[in-house]
């Protein structure tokens, strides 16, 4: 009696409802020959019935699974002898309940079961049994009820399509709001800690300070606590690494996209594109090793041979490899939109005597611009958010430098190291991670607003 079985049964009922609803609609119209008298296609009556059968039942099931455990535990707890719960903290009660559950499910328990425990476990087992039965009954009843309701409401004048479509629209709106909720969640989960951080460290120091050294600032006996939380080097580091990455990814990605969609034979394109896409899925650890052990030494050697002073960890190495990683964001997304530009646009250009590259540069790319910008923005975002490669190849030193051969660190790297390193409760160091996150969020938001306006301005909408 697994709940996935129930889910499958509900899905089965939905298909049954679909079938019945459809049939009922046809019958109510007066037979297959008269379906044109129906308000909507029979399919929509079917879908209507299926949705009525499915949605309430599945909602109930979701709620039930979410709350069943809590209710059962409350029931079992209520019947435990008071002596067992006496003086126990809620956590300890939870542990006791856990033990009872283990006992009930036959798993290994931590101690010899007392009769009370055994009784509670039996009760728990019984209640769960009942609960499962009740859920099955409830869910199935709701499914069948929904089906019957839809059945009763089915008549030729019912606006089935409109109803089904409005349900779909509601679903779409819910889907869209998930993005908003996520944003809200992120802002909330970083905001409070950030505010606390700014109570300890002046925002001025944070935004304009040029020295980043969170660890030392932590110690109570730190000499110059001021200035140790200057985020400027992190932002310049982020800027530098992302810029290098984009300098690699945008030309390579865009030119690949152009070549694959406009020049390459179809066969080449059909395997080259997915092959490039593999680059996006290689774990960043792998890129990190590649950057640190292959690219960085190479750059160092090269630099040395030219008499340059190259750090063994350099922004350049990390940026280059990161650029490789995000190539597919630019190449694949751009390729799709370039491919979608109507042939008539190209024809118009060719007929005026434009060469292929002129056509691409002046007609195709501008027409595909919103999509290309979308891909590039994604790539930038990915570059800003990447950590592993930077940690492994660019080092962690917060240098304020414009030299790509120096080692730098980025905002996200610092967030990760601050959050996963040896953190301590409520120290400014840990909270700095949140402040950094919030700042990054605001900065990228501003960048995106600008990008949106640029796209709006230069958008060329074909017919």
């Amino acid at each position: 009696m697994h709940s996935s079985t129930l889910l499958i049964i509900v899905l089965g009922l939905m298909s049954l409802a679909y079938y019945l609803g459809r049939k009922r609609a046809i019958v109510s119209a007066g037979g297959a020959g008269r379906i044109s008298t129906l308000h909507s296609l029979p399919t929509y009556y079917g879908l209507y019935a299926a949705l009525w059968a499915g949605i309430p039942a599945i909602l109930l099931m979701g709620l039930w699974t979410a709350f069943q455990d809590e209710i059962l535990v409350a029931l079992v707890k209520a019947e435990l002898p008071g002596s067992m719960l006496e003086g126990l903290s809620p956590g300890a009660v939870g542990l006791l309940v856990n033990d009872i559950k283990n006992l009930a499910s036959g798993a290994i328990v931590s101690r010899v079961a007392t009769p009370e425990m055994q009784a509670a476990a039996d009760r728990f087992a019984l209640f769960s049994q009942i609960a499962v039965w009740a859920m099955w009954l409830g869910v199935l009843a709701l499914a069948v009820g929904g089906m019957a309701f839809a059945w009763l409401r089915t008549n030729p004048r019912m606006r089935a399509r409109n109803r089904v479509e409005s349900i779909f629209m509601v679903i779409l709106v819910v889907f869209s709001s998930i993005a908003i909720l996520t944003t809200l969640g992120i802002v909330l989960s970083v905001l409070f800690e950030s505010l606390r951080f700014f109570q300890e460290i002046s925002p001025l120091d944070f935004f304009f300070g040029t020295l980043w050294s969170p660890q030392t600032a932590l110690r109570a006996d730190q000499v110059g606590a001021s200035g140790a939380f200057g985020a400027v080097p992190l932002f310049t580091g982020t800027l530098m690494v992302s810029t290098i990455a984009m300098l690699v990814a945008v030309p390579i990605g865009l030119m690949s996209a152009i070549y694959l969609s406009e020049y390459a034979p179809r066969r080449v394109r059909s395997w080259a594109k997915p092959t490039l896409e593999v680059l996006a899925g290689v774990p960043t650890v792998v890129y990190g090793f590649f950057a640190a052990l292959t690219v960085a030494p190479f750059i160092r050697e090269l630099g040395m041979s030219m008499g340059l002073n190259v750090a063994s960890e350099s922004a350049l190495a990390a940026g280059l490899v990161m650029g490789v990683m995000i190539i597919p964001f630019v190449s694949s997304l751009s390729e799709d939109v370039i491919n979608a530009v109507p042939q008539a646009m190209r024809d118009g250009s060719y007929a005026l005597g434009a060469t292929q590259s002129e056509t691409i540069r002046r007609v195709v790319i501008p027409a595909a611009l919103p999509g290309i910008v979308g891909g590039v923005l994604l790539a930038v975002s990915r570059a800003i958010g990447e950590t592993m490669i930077v940690v492994m190849a660019a080092g962690l030193a917060a240098n304020l430098t414009a030299n790509p051969l120096d080692s730098v660190t980025t905002v996200t790297v610092q967030i990760v190291t601050l959050l996963t390193g040896d953190q301590e409760f409520d120290s400014a160091k840990t909270m700095a991670a949140f402040a950094l996150g919030l700042t990054l969020f605001v900065v990228t938001l501003a960048l995106n607003v600008i990008a949106l306006h640029i796209v709006r301005k230069y958008r060329e909408q074909y017919e």
């Binding site: 903290s89 809620p90 956590g91 300890a92 939870g94 542990l95 006791l96 309940v97 856990n98 033990d99 283990n102 798993a107 290994i108 328990v109 931590s110 101690r111 050294s213 969170p214 660890q215 030392t216 110690r219 006996d221 730190q222 000499v223 990190g288 090793f289 640190a292 052990l293 030494p297 160092r300 750090a311 063994s312 960890e313 940690v391 492994m392 080092g395 962690l396 030193a397 120096d406 080692s407 190291t417 601050l418 996963t420 390193g421 040896d422 953190q423 301590e424 409760f425």
Partner: protein, 324 residues
């Protein structure tokens, strides 16, 4: 939940998992889940309270701090058993193809400190660019040290053991200890930021690989990685002492730290197997000098100490509040 949940230090992770695996294989209990969160992250979770959704055991590459202990108390985690499991040596090593190093802690400090005393004992920004500028016997190569980032426990330990040990060998600095304690600490703990010391992330294998690629670089990382790479790496001698199991175990190699795990006593008896796990860990078959943990690079405690820790651990004797 019917299995033990262990979380904490990444340094203790290899040992803890080895025990967990053996425990799972050889007992009737399920294999514990071990999470690598870092020492601080482990304590954060551990001290957030008692309950099924809180960890049972916390691994740590340092002793619990007072603030953490208090947090634990505040959240109802009152009885904690501290189990010191052995030592983790911190190796200072470079590639075999590079020059062999033998230096004192003082010289190491001079190489890495942010500010060093000049001839007349005044503090100046670290002027040393090459090892042999510190001591003529040291090699004529640029100082380039790859070490853990400030957020890592290894860095903390290195600073406290090596740097602080080194700086006190200079009288002028030592004198500060009494006159200006804060100053003393800042001087001893400050690591140079002019590029000679490179923060290289927490992946010790990466440091090993970087050392092999760059024979002039010196790395700071866990001893077990040196143990596994004796064919390509050489450990630097500190004051003539090679890093080996023996020298670390008997304390003659100075840069090593104790590692621990902490048991939440409130969970014993409600989560099955905790006691048995502790017993497995504190068994000579595991943590003894010849035990399987030694193969993984753990340096065992001296015999008597092991015996007494094992006794207290198995009795789940709650620890007292730490001093700091």
């Amino acid at each position: 939940r019917d299995s033990i949940w262990i979380a904490g230090s990444s340094t203790v992770f290899p040992f803890s998992t080895a025990v967990a695996e053996t425990f799972g294989r050889e007992s009737s209990f399920p294999t514990p889940k071990v999470e690598s969160l870092g020492t601080g992250g482990g304590f954060k979770l551990f001290c957030s309270g008692v309950g099924v959704d809180k960890s049972d055991i916390s691994n740590a590459s340092r002793a619990i701090k007072k603030s953490e202990f208090e947090q634990c108390q505040a959240n109802g985690v009152t009885e904690i058993t501290e189990v010191k499991i052995g030592y983790d040596g911190i190796a200072i090593a470079n590639a075999k193809s590079g020059p062999a190093l033998d230096m004192s802690l003082g010289e190491l400090w001079l190489a890495l400190a942010k500010d060093v005393p000049n001839e007349d004992g005044k503090l100046v920004a670290n002027p040393y660019k090459k090892w042999n500028e510190i001591n003529k016997d040291l090699p004529d190569v640029a100082i380039e040290v790859l070490g853990p980032p400030p957020t890592s426990g290894t860095r903390d330990a290195f600073v406290e053991l090596a740097m602080e040990g080194g700086c006190d060998s200079f009288d002028s600095v030592k004198a500060l200890k009494d006159s200006d304690k804060d100053m003393h600490k800042a001087v001893c703990h400050g690591i140079r930021e002019d590029g000679a010391f490179i923060e290289a992330g927490e992946n010790d294998n990466l440091i090993v690989q970087k050392l092999i690629a760059n024979p002039n670089a010196v790395g700071i990382f866990g001893f077990s990685f040196l143990d596994q790479n004796t064919d390509t790496l050489q450990g630097a001698k500190i004051a003539g002492v090679d890093p080996t199991f023996e020298t670390i175990g008997d304390g003659s190699y100075p840069v090593s730290r104790s590692i621990y795990f902490y048991v939440k006593n409130a969970h014993v008896g409600t989560i099955p197997g905790i006691q048995e796990y502790v017993a497995e860990f504190t068994n000579d078959k595991a943590w003894g000098p010849e035990g399987y943990l030694a193969d993984k690079g753990l340096i065992a405690l001296p015999d008597e100490m092991r015996a007494s820790v094992a006794e207290q651990a198995q009795a789940l004797k709650p620890m007292a509040a730490p001093a700091k």
